[in-house]
Every structure is written in structure tokens, then in C-alpha cells.
Point group: C2
Chain length 403, copies 2
């Protein structure tokens, strides 16, 4: 049972989470909780670091940020004990979440959850700090965005749990962001593949890495609300193709957290693009969509999108890349959005892409970059047209909830 920062934001909510864990344990289940830092704690720690230096060492930043979850696990264990049940907390280091040494976005390489199993056998509720781990030689790392979800899934795999329940302030996965589309519907079942495409294209409820982990280790994920009654069903993510409603498109997603980089005047010779993306990769930048324009007099333009959070890394990487390839200039455009349609049914229904383009064109929305997968089509558009695009697509693909 994983609870995010909002669910444990203050003493009252911690007590509520404690009660929920105890209720579950009393029902006979072995319970492991993974928790994030409380409310705005991580942000506050980052602010403290920024008061000292604009570019803190990532090792020291991980040392700093990992205290956030450590506070939560201790207080949650106390809350459970205060309510009369046994509990024990472990940091990521203690629980044996072994990662690589890429500070601030480390990847889990091994889980040694022996202490969890021992504590469960003693009928204790086990509380584990999400988002963090340690390298083989004991350095503290953090897993980056969505790290607590990944901790939860990895632990669930490590102890062969029946399910990994992800609690948040929403009650499941929706066919679109309900804040934008009032007729969005909750999805009861979704496959790993669809969920991965949704997560990678902006559905914020589950971190993509955690879904990948779940798929690879066959962990059933269950998205539920921290605040709804415990018998309320959320969304279950499994390996089965569970598209029972026979929808061609399952969801419309959007993401305004990316930026578009354009490099101009790139010499159009083989290997140039490889050089650029190799250098970005070495700097741990996750490049998403890429487009290379038609060559003009031996020079071409390359555009691609990256998470806005990576822009600092991108800048320093591009300074190197520009010299190496001999390009002229580059610029960043943050005012973009990615809207996507996702659905396992797309594989067997041709013409979906055309319908998407037509829907956007009818609204006068210009498409900048396109990328597709067998079960997803994504378009980069102007940021201020995001909501209009999402609503139009949700209607066009017959996802609107009946009145």
C-alpha cells in the first residue's frame, strides 16, 4: 500500500493512513506500506538547498531529500503503534533497495527484502521509505520522479505480494483528466501496455517506471483513493487484455511538462543526429519525440522534446554537442503540449490516426510533431490549445460519459 505526499501531509492524515493499514492487517493480510515525504517537505528541502547554491551536487541533494521520507516512516510507525498495532520502519538503504549510482534518478538493480519478510512474520506492519535507495557501496540515492511508486512495485515484486495498491487523491485512472473533461470516465481495468502509453504521455496517476517494473515482474497494480471508503474499487492494472468495453481508444492524455528544443543549421551528414542524442543520453536526458526537417542546402534542423525538469542538463549537453556537430544555433520552446490518444484497440482499427488529425484540424489546431506507437498517437501542439484538443478528442472517440 503506497501513500503519496498528499495522503500523509499532516498528523491527522498520518493517523488516517495508520488506521487504514491496521484495518487491512486485522483483515488477515500482511501489510507493507511505502510512503513519500509529507506534503511540501521535499519542496522545502529543495528551497533550503537553493538558498545555498543554485546547482547543488546531486549526491548531496539525494542525501538531503532522502530525509523527507525518513521523517514520514518514523511518524507513521509511531502512529500505528499509538493505535495499538505493531509496526517497524525502514529506510530505502535498510530495506535493501540497491540502485545504480545515478544520483537524483537512480534505477533499482536489486531488492533484498529479507528484513521485510522477517518483520511481516512477526505480524508487524512494515513501513518503507519510498523514492530512495542505496548503491552497492552504501551511498544514498533517490529514484527521481515517481520514485515512491517504483519502490512500492519493486518491493511488491521482491516479496511476491498479491498486489501493489497505489493510493492517491484520485480514485483511479480516467479516460482523460477530469479537471479538463467533465465527462471523463473511470477505467476499471487497463493493461500494462496501455497504462505505460498513458503514463508516458501525461497521465499523472502512475509513474511510467513503476508500470514498467510491474509489467516486467508481473505485479498487479491497483490505483485507489486515500480518502474514499476502503471497499471502493479503483483501477486495476494487469497483464490481461481487459478491454472489456471494446473501445478503440481508451483514453486521451496530455502533458504540458515538456519543452521543445530546436537545433538549427545542422550539417546534414550521417551520424550527426546520433552524436547529439548520444551526448544527451550521457547526460541522462530523456528525449521524447524527435523530428528532423528536410535538408536545405546541406543544412537541416532537428527538433525534439524533453521534460522541462531536464532543461539544465540539456543546456550543458547541447553546448558540447553544438561544437562537435558544428550546428549554428538552438532554442527552447516551453509553450508546447503533447496530446495523445491511447488504446489497445487501435492495433486492429485502421484510420484512427487520420481521425485524430481531422478532429484537431476541425478545431484549427496546428500539429507540430507527431509520434506513434502501435497503441498510441501523440501530437505536439501549442500549449494554450491543450484543453480544447483534449475535449475534442474525448468526444470524437466516443469516450464521453453518458449523462
Amino acid at each position: 500500500m503506497k501513500f503519496g505526499g498528499t495522503s500523509v501531509a499532516d498528523t491527522e492524515r498520518l493517523n488516517r493512513v495508520a488506521a487504514r493499514l491496521i484495518e487491512r492487517a486485522k483483515s488477515g493480510d500482511d501489510v507493507v506500506a511505502v510512503v513519500s515525504a509529507m506534503g511540501k517537505v521535499t519542496d522545502d528541502l529543495i528551497t533550503q538547498a537553493e538558498q545555498i547554491t543554485p546547482s547543488p551536487s546531486k549526491r548531496e541533494l539525494d542525501m538531503l531529500l532522502s530525509t523527507g521520507e525518513q521523517v514520514t516512516i518514523a511518524l507513521l510507525a509511531m502512529a500505528i503503534q499509538q493505535q495499538g498495532y505493531e509496526a517497524i520502519s525502514f529506510t530505502g538503504s535498510q530495506v535493501g533497495i540497491v540502485t545504480d549510482a545515478v544520483y537524483s534518478k537512480a534505477r533499482i538493480v536489486r531488492i533484498d527484502a529479507a528484513c521485510v519478510l522477517t518483520a511481516l512474520a512477526q505480524k508487524k506492519i512494515v513501513i518503507v521509505a519510498g523514492f530512495q535507495g542505496r548503491t552497492l557501496d552504501g551511498q544514498i540515492t533517490t529514484l527521481g520522479r515517481g520514485g515512491s511508486d517504483t519502490t512500492a512495485v519493486a518491493l511488491a515484486a521482491g516479496i511476491k505480494a498479491d498486489a501493489c495498491e497505489i493510493y492517491s487523491d484520485v480514485d483511479g485512472i480516467y479516460s482523460a483528466d477530469p479537471r479538463i473533461v467533465s465527462k471523463a470516465r473511470k477505467i476499471d481495468y487497463v493493461s500494462y501496455e496501455e497504462m505505460l502509453e498513458m503514463a508516458s504521455s501525461g497521465a499523472g496517476v502512475l509513474a511510467m517506471r513503476s508500470v514498467e517494473f510491474a509489467r516486467n515482474f508481473d505485479v498487479v497494480m491497483h490505483c485507489r483513493s486515500s480518502f474514499a471508503p476502503s471497499d471502493q474499487m479503483g483501477t486495476i492494472v494487469t497483464g490481461e487484455d481487459s478491454n472489456m468495453e471494446d473501445a478503440v481508444v481508451s483514453a486521451v492524455t496530455h502533458d504540458t511538462g515538456e519543452a521543445k528544443i530546436t537545433i538549427r543549421g545542422v550539417p546534414d551528414r550521417p551520424g550527426v543526429a546520433a552524436t547529439v542524442f548520444d551526448i544527451l543520453g550521457q547526460n541522462n536526458v530523456n528525449v521524447d519525440m524527435i523530428i528532423q526537417n528536410v535538408s536545405d542546402a546541406g543544412l537541416t534542423d532537428i527538433s525534439f522534446t524533453v521534460p522541462e525538469a531536464d532543461i539544465n542538463s540539456v543546456s550543458s549537453a547541447l553546448e558540447i554537442a553544438m561544437k562537435e556537430i558544428g550546428a549554428r544555433t538552438w532554442n527552447i520552446d516551453k509553450d508546447i503540449a503533447k496530446v495523445s490518444i491511447v488504446g489497445a484497440g487501435m492495433k486492429t482499427h485502421p484510420g484512427i490516426t487520420a481521425r485524430m488529425f481531422k478532429t484537431l484540424a476541425d478545431k484549427g489546431i496546428n500539429i507540430d510533431i507527431i509520434s506513434t506507437s502501435p497503441i498510441r498517437v501523440s501530437c505536439i501542439i501549442a500549449a494554450d490549445q491543450t484543453e480544447e484538443a483534449v475535449r475534442a478528442l474525448h468526444t470524437a472517440f466516443e469516450l464521453d460519459l453518458d449523462d
Copy 2:
């Protein structure tokens, strides 16, 4: 170089400490810093725990409190790096401060400082979290009161440092608390034995455990001011008998942090006192002074003093002890103080104790309990007479600074 919570209370002070560490490193010394939690951070964490439970599990409290120093070490390392010098931080766990499993007042059993020596060889300033360690099986512990001093001395011993400098907001050890005695004088040199007696009887600058550690491992301690210029000499604590001023009494100390427990109606048979103090010991209560009154009709009274911080443990221990020994009642008196005179010269000068009693008697101050060591005499008096007693003794033993 150990800096307490006041010295690292905010960003500005952290930057000042960073500058000081760099200055020292640039002078050619290998520098290891041990730091406490910033300002009131530990108190704030305790308050958070108390909002959840009046009696938090000590294991979970240690898990919680150890985050305080972890925040400091990360920020201090960043501050040093921002000022252009290399630095690396380690938690107590990482640095190999291995302790027993007595949570909240763990004792160091081993130091494995290999990572410190490696980092020093790389010309990095090493920052270590004070106050904390880990058990052999990886549980996080805290060392209790004065724990950061102890970490510093233990590390200094572990890496065979030339000296262990303890920085605080005072510039050394004084012959009495300067807030009470305006004519108190700074002591330039003091022996481990004297310092131990002073620390155990209320001189707050150094934790007694750290001085014991220093004596056992022959570590030179140097008490200095965080805020004074770096060439200003503080007080050096060494093994040498450095009573150069030939004073019979070196210092007058006082301690208002103890409480007096009196057990009444104790059956006066052999082994009764042993039973009481055995049970207290099992509950990790540090009993200080003990007095047993003359037996009256087979019943006697036992009084002893304990740190006020231990009163909760005392209460639960005494509930057990009372039943076992069949005593009638017990009560706590917090309005007491201990005043002491300390001096290596006392060994060779008889009559010191008598002069102390006479000085107090002349001021109309009643003595409740007395205890002595070869180089210390302590008296329990009423708390509201503390300042008068300290001033009178400071004058009587010719410690007042000349005008």
C-alpha cells in the same frame, strides 16, 4: 572540527562554518567536520512525534531524529562546494559508527572510518553527521545527549587525528558559568580527570561521555568559539596535569537539571538498595548521588538524584521496585541543584571540603546530600540558592578574576 546546532542554525552560519573549514583545509590540514542538527530542528521533530504519541518508540524516535543531522551535512557539503572546495557528507551509518542497540542513548562500540580516510586522501573536506550511528545489523541509533561531541572524539580517535576541536558559542571552559559569576576566568588547560568531574557536575560545554572517550583514546580536545577569530585559543583538554596556576580548586560548577527521588518506608534489610538500583539500571536510568537515612524501627528512607530527562523511566522502574522491596511511598523533588568544586589540587590539600561546607553555611545554605571524589565535592542544595552558592564558592576558593 565539531560544530553544534547553534553554529549551523541557518544558511548564513552554515556558510560561515564552510568558510572556516575551507580556511583550515587550505592551511594544509586534513579536515573532518562533525555537525549537529540545525538550531531547533531536533526540538521540532520531537514536537512532531509528540503530536502523534506521548511515548514514541525509541527506535522510531531515533529514525526520526537522525534526519536532523543528515539535513545539516548535506547542506554544509553544498555550502563548501559552492565556495569552491571539494566536500562529501556521510551519515553516522555510512561512516561506520557502530553502536549497541540502546535506542536514544546508544554507546559507540566500534568505528570503521575507512571512507573518511579515503575521502581525505582525495583532498575532500569530510562532513559527518553527529549524534547518530547504527547497530551491527543496520538499525539507526542516536547517542543521546552530547552525542555529537562523542561522535567527534570517536572519529578523531578512529582516524588518529592530531586534535578534536569542539566549537560552540562560548570560547572555552570557565572557572564557573560566566552568566552567574561575572569574574569567572577562562581556563587554558585542563586535565581529562578535572574536565570529567566538571562535565559530570554541570559544566555544559563538553559532554562527559566525549571526555571519557578522549581520555580512553588519548584524543586532545580543544574547546573553541565558532564566532571568535580562528587564531583565538580556547581551552585544551589533555592527559597532562596542566594545573600551571597551582590552584587548589579549578572550577565551581552547578547543575539544576537533576531531580531528587526519595523512597520512604523501605524495609531495612540487606540487598534492598541493590534491588532498587538494579531495576533503575535495567531501565537505563543514570543515578547520580545516593543517600540512605538512618534506620528507624526497621524502616529507612533512600534518596538519590537522577537527570530530570530520565524521570519517565524512573517512574515506571520505581513502580516495579516498590512492589519488590515493599516500600511505602516515593516522591520527586525537582527544585534542587547540585553545586560542586573541582580541582586536581584537592588531592594534596586537606580541608577543602570543610571550607566548602563553611562557605555555604555562612550564606545560610542548607546541604541535603553530599558526594565526593578525589578531585570533586558536590552538594545538593535548594534550587533557588544556586547562584548565591556558586558566587560564594568562586570567591572563597580565590578563583575571581582580578579587576
